[in-house]
């Protein structure tokens, strides 16, 4: 394992950014989100959760797919180039790394999403273990270890002003090679990191949502859950905004639209869509989810029933808790799961 003093991180970021693009948590106008590192960027590694998840790095909120340009009497189609430069995402948490796994199972299967695949090929994930997880976290419920983001290319821990660095994959080793001059090998680091892991896991045990039970939620309960009268009540405070879906690391639905850029042609782009929106999956025949109840139900059924049905039981929630923090009406997946439990208990 390697280490670097926290005050030398700027040098580390400079070194990485000199060779490839570097995304990391940056504070802008009071809010921390993943952004491109620049000399002036206010890097913020203390905020546990960025407002938006880092999924933008692989699946941006909006991206042009191709542009149609009128060329005399012909129409020229210019596809957008695929990502062909390497980049690093630094500071992803364990839950967010798991979120990428959820996206992989959607975009990297047949038919392959080439835009996403190119970004996955060129991106290296450097994860940062959680130091002080919060009451809105429930990653453990979905098998994520806040103390050890082992699914990343590089795992790091910040302990007492030192960042510990452990490469986990070939990509991680390659990145480590490029910054080796700034890192210091430390044979006693394992012990320090193990102690930190134990302490974080102790905190995790004390958090209120970490023991949430998912009993009754799996890919086989489709009709039973779909028709449950509880949805008639649960959706009521929902404002039908898209906050939960847009801050979520696993929501992957998108819409494809055209933007008439005038003389510059027509850009066909895709952008995140939200099942909370009235025109979600609107087709020529109309809309198949006419009420907010149906739209609200869709989100939770997708996370806890449909996705597991198609992915060997894997849920498409990673317990990051962003929806818990951001829903304007204080609704969230935890409340939904608990409401069904409560109902089960009373029957």
């Amino acid at each position: 394992m390697y280490k670097i003093a926290k005050e030398n991180l700027t040098a580390l970021f400079q070194k990485i950014a000199s060779e490839q693009e570097l995304y990391l948590p940056v504070k802008t106008a009071g809010q921390t989100n993943f952004g491109v590192w620049t000399e002036d960027a206010q890097v913020d590694l203390d905020t546990l959760k960025t407002v938006k998840s880092p999924k933008d790095a692989f699946f941006p909120q909006s991206e042009t797919l191709y542009t149609c340009i009128r060329d005399g009497k012909k129409l020229k189609i210019e596809p957008e180039a695929l990502k062909d430069q390497n980049f690093v995402v630094f500071g992803m948490r364990g839950c967010d790394v798991k979120g990428v796994e959820v996206l992989d199972r959607v975009f990297l299967v047949d038919p392959l999403d080439t835009f996403y695949a190119a970004r996955r090929d060129h991106g290296t994930i450097v994860a940062l273990a959680c130091h002080e997880p919060e009451e809105t976290c429930f990653c453990k419920v979905f098998g994520v270890d806040a103390a050890d983001p082992s699914a990343a290319d590089v795992a790091t821990w910040i302990i007492d002003g030192t960042l510990y660095w452990k490469a986990l994959t070939e990509k991680g080793e390659a990145l480590t090679e490029t910054v080796k001059d700034l890192l210091e090998e430390d044979n006693s680091a394992d012990e320090i990191v193990e102690k930190e892991k134990a302490s974080v896991r102790d905190i995790v045990e004390k958090l209120p949502y970490m023991h949430l039970s998912l009993e009754g939620w799996n890919g086989d309960v489709l009709m039973e859950k779909f028709e449950d009268p509880l949805w008639d009540e649960l959706y009521k405070p929902c404002l039908a905004c898209g906050t939960c879906t847009f801050v979520c690391p696993t929501c992957q639905c998108y819409d494809i639209k055209d933007y008439d850029a005038g003389r510059n042609g027509v850009q066909r782009y895709r952008c995140w869509d939200s099942c909370m929106y009235s025109d979600f999956t609107m087709m020529a025949h109309g809309n198949n989810r006419k009420s907010q109840k149906e739209r609200f139900r869709q989100r939770f059924m997708h996370k806890l029933v449909y996705y597991p049905a198609n992915n060997e039981g894997m849920y498409s929630c990673v317990g990051c808790g962003r929806c818990v923090e951001k829903c304007p009406a204080s609704l969230n997946i935890v409340k939904v799961i608990k409401a069904f439990q409560k109902q089960g208990g009373e029957q």
Binding site: T28, A29, G30, Q31, N33, L48, V51, K52, Q61, S62, E132, P133, E134, E135, T136, I203, K206, L207, P208, Y209, H211, L212, K236, P237, L239, A240, C241, G242, T243, T245, F246, V247, D255, K257, Y259, D260, Y269, C271, W272, D273, S274, Y277, S278, D279, M282, V324, K326, P328, A329, S330, L331, V334, K335, K338
Partner: protein, 349 residues
């Protein structure tokens, strides 16, 4: 988990005296609501249901006596319930709705626009001593929150005591208040059937100070300021959907009949279109309830747009507060010879 809730609520109660009086007005609201449900005056009650964390109550309907076990009214009930009355007005029977003083401005404005039915509402004006902003509490570095005491309406405490897994923390109630409460419009309910609970004056700042700061900026500075703030926008529409003045049946930004439907968060669009059009559309009708800024996941100070319009209306047409009355002629819907000419904008700069 249920044990956790129980344990923390006990901790909250024991660390504070006067448990009997502490939640008195909450109890009075509950008792009155039960009475009105029982005698058939109302068919349902619209209030807040306790959350599973100390700070996340949700708007909720209560129809049966046993539902009230979860009824809560405390400092975290910032949500303005007046907009929910648009849907409730379509239901059979009256809905008892709990409105804070500032919420009643929104309700009255919605009445003026014929979006809610006064005859379908039984309004209990609930007291308010300023509502709390969990984002402000978290910004102070307070995390791992287990319980919060001092947030009850009757509690005279000036301080919130917050138990966290990282130790006990305190913060001044005032420092944890929503921005809108620092420029509170006052303790009076504009419309109600009855009032339960005392309200407290929380105003300690001028409503237009921030607007004046922006007015004093150069055009380049203004542009940079709004670009920085608005480029955080994720197009979640939370500001629009929570806004009582945004009550169009079909928003132009949701319509697929025009090129106006937009979901992409493209900077050039955000800055030039969505927020500015929205601000124009609610000008003269916005009561400054502050819900847009409360719900914005990116902390964009959206109220500043609306306040600029309010300030201009005050200056050009005389002081006006939307929702303060039911007078149908309002500054922007009434036309008089002495009205300001559009050219004033060019003259003023």
């Amino acid at each position: 988990m249920q044990e956790f809730v129980k344990a923390t609520s006990q901790a909250g109660a024991s660390s504070h005296l006067a448990t009997a009086g502490q939640r008195e007005s909450q109890t009075r609201v509950i008792n009155r609501a039960k009475e009105l449900l029982a005698d058939g005056t109302v068919a349902r009650v619209l209030g807040w249901k306790a959350g599973d964390l100390p700070y996340n109550p949700e708007p909720a309907y209560f129809e049966k006596e046993e539902d009230f076990a979860d009824f809560v009214y405390n400092g975290f009930c910032g949500a303005n319930l007046s907009k929910y009355m648009i849907e409730a007005s379509k239901l059979e029977g009256k809905t008892l709705v709990c409105l804070k003083p500032c919420d009643t401005y929104s309700f009255q404005e919605l009445m003026k626009e014929h979006r809610v039915d006064r005859d379908k509402a039984y309004i209990i004006g609930v007291g308010c001593k300023g509502k709390l902003d969990i984002e402000k509490i978290k910004a102070m570095g307070i995390k791992g929150i287990q319980s919060i005491s001092g947030a009850e309406l009757e509690d005279e405490a000036e301080t919130l005591t917050i138990q966290t897994i990282y130790g006990e923390k305190t913060c001044a109630y005032k420092d944890a208040m929503l921005e809108r409460c620092h420029v509170c419009k006052g303790k009076d309910h504009m419309i109600f059937d009855e009032i339960i609970g005392e309200s407290k004056e929380t105003k300690d700042a001028d409503r237009f100070t921030e607007v004046e700061k922006i007015e004093a900026m150069s055009p380049e500075e203004k542009f940079a300021f709004f670009q920085k703030e608005l480029s955080k926008c994720i197009r979640c529409n939370a500001c629009r959907n929570v806004c009582p003045a945004c009550s169009c049946r079909k928003c132009v930004f949701d319509s697929n009949k025009f090129d106006s439907a937009q979901k992409a968060n493209v900077d050039s669009f955000e800055e030039k279109m969505f927020h500015i059009i929205r601000a124009f559309h609610v000008a003269g009708r916005c009561t400054d309830c502050g819900e847009c800024s409360r719900v914005c996941p990116q902390g964009i100070p959206l109220h500043l747009f609306n306040r600029k319009f309010i300030k201009d209306i005050d200056e050009l047409y005389g002081e006006y507060q939307a929702g303060a009355d039911l007078e149908p002629r309002t500054p922007l819907t009434d036309y008089r010879f002495e009205d300001a000419e559009p050219g004033i904008v060019a003259e003023r700069g």
